[in-house]
Symmetry: C2
Subunit: 145 residues, 2 copies
């Protein structure tokens, strides 16, 4: 039987999503549904889920997926979401999950850094590299009633 090799390289998206819909990002059930669906869209297997409310209106949530995780902390009073999507392996597509989640939060604009983690030069001394960009969404933006 071939020895199972677990790639150390992972892709970690660090996202500051602005202009999100407070009715969505302040609702623990909706935030949980969005993150679990994001994991599914990435092609990741969900291992465990932990969601909590924090005062005055925020939600903190983590979805543990194989060797990696999706996490979010929301500030509905500022339309702001801090989102992390970190995946390992070649069978997952975290960027699709980022785009899905940020659009589902109703974000108008997001500041994103993609960190490539677990890189080494064959010497088992690991490091990461990163690129940063802004993303604007046509249909996003904080809804006004």
């Amino acid at each position: 039987m071939a020895k199972e090799i677990h790639e150390t390289i992972g892709h970690h998206y660090i996202v500051e999503a602005s202009g999100c819909d407070p009715k969505i990002i302040g609702n623990i059930e909706k935030v949980q549904q969005i993150l679990v669906k994001a994991a599914d869209i990435a092609g990741a297997q969900v291992w465990s889920i932990s969601f909590n409310r924090f005062p005055p209106q925020g939600v903190s949530g983590v979805v543990v997926i194989s060797e990696s995780h999706i996490s979010t902390h929301t500030w509905p009073e500022f339309g702001y979401v801090a989102l992390d999507i970190y995946t390992c392996g070649k069978s997952v597509d975290p960027e699709k999950a980022v785009v899905f989640a940020v659009e589902a939060f109703g974000s108008s604009t997001s500041h994103i850094t993609e960190i490539t983690r677990g890189l080494d030069e064959g010497d088992m001394i690991y490091y990461h590299s990163f690129i940063t960009w802004e993303e604007r969404f046509k249909n996003g933006g904080q809804k006004k009633d």
Copy 2:
């Protein structure tokens, strides 16, 4: 009663820890103890804990703390730990937690990026900034029997 203000600014440490002790980072109970103690050292309140083993020898764990989280994924076969410590608020000291955790894993060297998240210019358009450095540990390094 004064309205509770929840600061969006947070400090997120992204750590690639190398040369860690496989007997520590491959042991789910030890990894969990280290992360919970790291939360305590940071001065953070623990909200929930989720730890899982993943094959062949790794551990994935998340500790949700107020508005933020500590997470780790370990590869004992490579002496490698991917560690995140993200905290919000002024009453916590995440850097102490990072140093404690990385030393407790027995790491000889760590590549660290500190990301300041939830920054804005008063316009509720959030972004992050970062600095990166290497840290070497006198007493760290993979133990040999």
